[in-house]
């Protein structure tokens, strides 16, 4: 029942042939050399320092929410860098390929990327940045911080948590391998229809994109289920809903979007898959298909998805602004109402992504007005942050600088978003780089929020602060780079420059394009300062206080620094919204528990990792239509899940004496330190 596809197909290797490996392309060869070197260095040093066992046991098999969170963030950062390089390629291409006389290099008639490559580059950029950079970075933060903020031991489902991570990794691997085996989609991150159907897109690119989204979307849905259950069921005693910290609240809002919106994407992609693999006609233009259906389904997910991403960033800003203003968050109840409002309204605005399709003035009017309503809770948030700073005692440490910048970016992104939601304005700038600049403002809010949060919570997780001077350099270069890239982009948008052009016929755009390249150069500086910041801080490692910034307000600052793998030695009782502030106000912040009781912990397991890798094998096989491999790995996954359900190991118990000893001698139990060191023999004592 296989639809006919271009080119050869063999039962053993499917569509995969030697030609799929682009060894004639100098850019890809270069990339491969770098990736291979990096891989060899990493694997080599792991082997050299005899850390294979450590990596496997302590990280790949870990079910600890903090380690999973850290791995999510490492994935996010690596993908952020890859996405950044894609961005660099787009900006440089557009700065060269202007006008018919522009030079061409490396086999391209203009610039150095013919459309075949350029189109893959920006499709990958969007997919990677949203799905494999922003999402893992935020999920990682949520994973690390939410259980700590609510005084829990771990997530509700630690194994599922690990499965979510490794499914996301599988999707990322799929995107990465598409660089060296075959090609990536050229149908943009949204999957243009009917362009992404077989007739216009017979290659494997769309399949790579589709499966990468599909498998990581599964991971995200699981993670959302996990977060909601954790927040609902695992809060420490005394933490009523109005004592839940804002960051946890926004994670709740985001996770609700996660469980409800991602299934719609899953369904849409599954139907696209059926179209491409077995020849159904859901989204074809003819044969009674309806590609508007795809566009509606996609944006029914897609718009909530952008709020899925930005809400956690809003939470981060709230936490940081209040901490560094040494003041309670202003308007906590309305902040929560606003978050939930944004999550809710986000469901009825999707059609603003295709006003130009001609829905008729009634529908357009409805969606235009509905979209504008989102501006209300967003505005409320901005006001509340501003009034949190009002009469505060503000420290402009790096996290605070990021947070303030985020507010400014949000205002710019908000006003341009509101412009776009007026359909008559949209008729002039839809699908122009104005839209690109709009959402990059928003995406920079996410990026800035993540950088703020990394700096802010780093000491909690690793036990030492990041270097402040280099952090500030990173911040200022990043801001300068953003301004230099995106202000000209707004201007080019107002000039009518269409997005996704590999060649610009309009030579008047040259100055703006050059300015953007300057911005990119400044961005490179910021990457340098970021790496320098990490390296220098790692080298110095000045131990941080338990309450690293001195003005911490919520429960996570009550744990030891760095957080031991069991989080709280004894579950705290919660008395106020800002529990730590409350304890400080009562002089109790140093109070320690008098007795310890045994703690039940889940055991590590390699199954989630194996399931993730099998997921990768399965989707890779599907991309190349290697049916036997796809079937075998799917079967293996099902079998593994069944086998796991027969596993009687339900974790181990950490005896009270071990905890007491560990709390006295903290250096051995950091997140980085090995869990097994403090465990009684083998780490599986006293299974019950």
């Amino acid at each position: 029942m296989q639809v006919a596809v271009d080119g050869p197909w063999s039962p053993l290797l499917g569509r995969l042939t030697l030609e799929a490996i682009p060894y004639t392309n100098p850019i890809l060869l270069f990339t491969f050399a770098i990736a291979a070197t990096a891989g060899i260095v990493v694997v080599g040093s792991v082997l050299y320092f005899r850390k294979v066992g450590y990596i496997w046991r302590e990280w790949l098999c870990s079910v600890d929410h903090k380690r999973i969170g850290v791995m999510y963030m490492i994935l996010g950062l690596v993908m952020l860098f890859r996405g950044f390089i894609d961005g660099v390629m787009m900006r440089t291409q557009q700065a060269i390929a202007i006008g018919p006389d522009s030079p061409g290099y490396l086999g391209a008639a203009h610039g150095y990327l013919p459309p075949y490559h350029f189109d893959q580059v920006y499709s990958a950029h969007g997919t990677l940045m949203l799905i494999f950079a922003a999402t893992p970075l935020l999920t990682g933060l949520g994973n690390i911080i939410v259980p700590l903020q609510i005084g829990a031991r771990d997530m509700a489902f630690p194994y599922l948590n690990a499965v979510s991570l490794w499914l996301t990794v599988a999707g990322a691997l799929l995107c990465m391998i598409s660089l060296f085996v075959g090609e990536f989609s050229n149908a943009t991150w949204v999957g243009l229809m009917p362009f992404a159907e077989l007739p216009s897109n017979p290659g494997v690119g769309v399949d790579y994109w589709m499966w990468a989204l599909q498998i990581s979307g599964l991971g995200t849905t699981f993670n959302a289920i996990n977060i909601i259950t954790t927040i609902v069921k695992m809060r420490a005693p005394g933490m009523g809903w109005f004592r839940v910290p804002v960051f946890t609240w926004v994670n709740m809002a985001t996770a609700i979007i996660g469980v409800t919106a991602f299934p719609v994407l899953t369904a849409a992609l599954a139907m696209l898959g059926l179209d491409r693999y077995v020849g159904t006609h859901f989204f074809s233009a003819g044969f009674g298909g309806n590609y508007m259906l795809y566009i509606n389904l996609f944006w029914t997910w897609g718009h909530p998805e952008v709020y899925f991403l930005v809400l956690p960033a809003f939470g981060l800003i709230s936490e940081i602004v209040s901490t560094f203003s040494a003041k309670s968050l202003f308007g906590y109840p309305t902040m929560i109402a606003a978050s939930m409002g944004i999550a809710g309204v986000g469901w009825v605005v999707w059609a603003h992504h295709f006003f130009t399709m001609g829905m008729g003035p009634n529908l357009i009017g409805f969606f235009s007005a509905a979209t504008m309503i989102v501006g209300i809770p967003t505005g409320v948030k901005a006001f509340n942050w501003v009034f949190t700073m009002f009469r505060g005692r503000i420290t402009l440490a790096t996290p605070m600088l990021w947070a303030i910048t985020c507010i400014l970016l949000l205002l710019v992104g908000g006003i341009t978003g509101m412009m776009l939601s007026a359909s008559v304005v949209d008729y002039t700038v839809h699908d122009s780089v104005f839209v690109v600049a709009h959402f990059h403002c928003m995406v920079l809010v996410i990026g800035g929020g993540v950088f703020a949060a990394v700096t802010y919570w780093w000491p909690k997780v690793f036990g030492f602060k990041l270097n402040e001077t280099l952090g500030q350099w990173f911040f200022w270069t990043f801001v300068a780079g953003s301004v230099l890239v995106f202000v000209p982009m707004f201007m080019a948008g107002l000039d009518g420059e269409t997005r996704r052009l590999d060649y610009l016929w309009d030579t008047s755009l040259r100055p703006l394009m050059l300015l953007e390249v300057v911005g990119i150069a400044v961005y490179f500086l910021s990457v340098f300062f970021f790496l320098a910041m990490i390296v220098v801080s790692l080298a110095k490692r000045e131990p941080a206080e338990q309450d690293a910034w001195g003005t911490g307000r919520s429960l996570e600052w009550l744990t030891q620094t760095p957080v031991p793998f069991y989080n709280f030695a004894v579950t705290p009782q919660v008395h106020a919204l800002d529990e730590l502030s409350w304890r400080k106000a009562n002089g109790l912040e140093k109070a320690q528990p008098s007795t310890y009781v045994p703690i039940h912990m889940p055991s590590s397991t390699g199954l989630p990792f194996i399931i993730g890798m099998l997921g990768f094998a399965c989707t890779f096989a599907l991309v190349w239509r290697i049916w036997w491999l796809a079937g075998a790995s799917l079967l293996a996954i099902i079998l593994l899940v069944i086998i796991r359900s027969f596993d009687k190991n339900e974790g181990y118990v950490l005896p009270a004496e071990t905890i007491a000893a560990a709390e006295r001698n903290l250096s051995t139990v950091s997140v980085i330190a090995e869990q097994s060191k403090v465990l009684p023999v083998g780490g599986h004592a006293e299974a019950h």
């Binding site: 489902f157 469980v259 719609v264 139907m271 009674g288 309806n290 259906l293 304890r583 106000a585 339900e650």
Partner: protein, 209 residues
């Protein structure tokens, strides 16, 4: 903060043992959330069906009203409900702690489900054989997908029951096994509700004869 209650001498700061959470309740809650997500996948397929269920999208081929039989659909509905009933009897037996009762209930549910799938898949095969397969039109693509999505859920439920048959035998009614049996009940009822909606929406509202 103005709303601070002052700490007194008897203020409790720590709660030894408070992290012993009720795992069954967390698992059930998580499973509800999964069902919510799954329901949304199916809702999306239904939405497509609603859009594609018109002569334009039939591409000259048949619509549901041309080939669906309401009485056959009714029969299938009864079979599904019978299967749910059989599983409910298994849960009644679970309360009594009877391994035999639970197993018999599940076996009954499986057998009825297999009969149901036989009828349903047979219909699809006949339709394809008559030249009206899923590739005929956008409408038929969606019709096949809708029916097969439900069938996939049923198949998954059958597999789960088979596993549980073994686990009941091997482990008896441990906390884990009971939690799984209860979640499976929710899943089985969920799958039946999906079918009932298919029957009402596709068969009855769709004008099956």
């Amino acid at each position: 903060m103005a709303s601070f209650t002052k700490a007194g001498a008897d203020t409790v700061l720590w709660n030894p043992g408070a992290d012993a959470h009720d795992t069954i309740s967390a698992r059930t809650y998580g499973f509800w959330l999964y069902l919510l997500g799954d329901a949304l996948i199916i809702a999306a397929v239904f939405a497509c069906y609603a859009v594609l269920n018109n002569p334009l999208n039939a591409n000259g081929g048949p619509l549901g009203k041309d080939f669906l039989s309401a009485s056959k659909g009714m029969l299938q509905t009864f079979i599904v409900l019978g299967s749910v009933l059989s599983y409910s009897l298994a849960t009644v037996a679970l309360k009594r702690g009877s391994k035999l009762g639970v197993s018999l209930g599940m076996i009954g549910a499986i057998l009825l489900a297999v009969v149901f799938l036989g009828i349903g898949l047979g219909d699809l095969a006949a339709l394809s054989a008559a030249g009206d397969g899923f590739a005929r039109s956008g409408y038929l693509s969606c019709f096949f997908t809708l029916i097969l999505t439900h069938a996939l859920h049923m198949g998954f439920g059958i597999l789960w029951m088979l596993v549980m048959l073994v686990q009941v035998g091997v482990f008896g009614f441990t906390e884990n096994v009971v939690a799984r049996l209860l979640n499976l009940r929710m899943f089985w009822q969920f799958q039946a509700s999906v079918w009932v909606v298919v029957y009402i929406y596709v068969y009855l509202f769709g004008g099956a004869h």
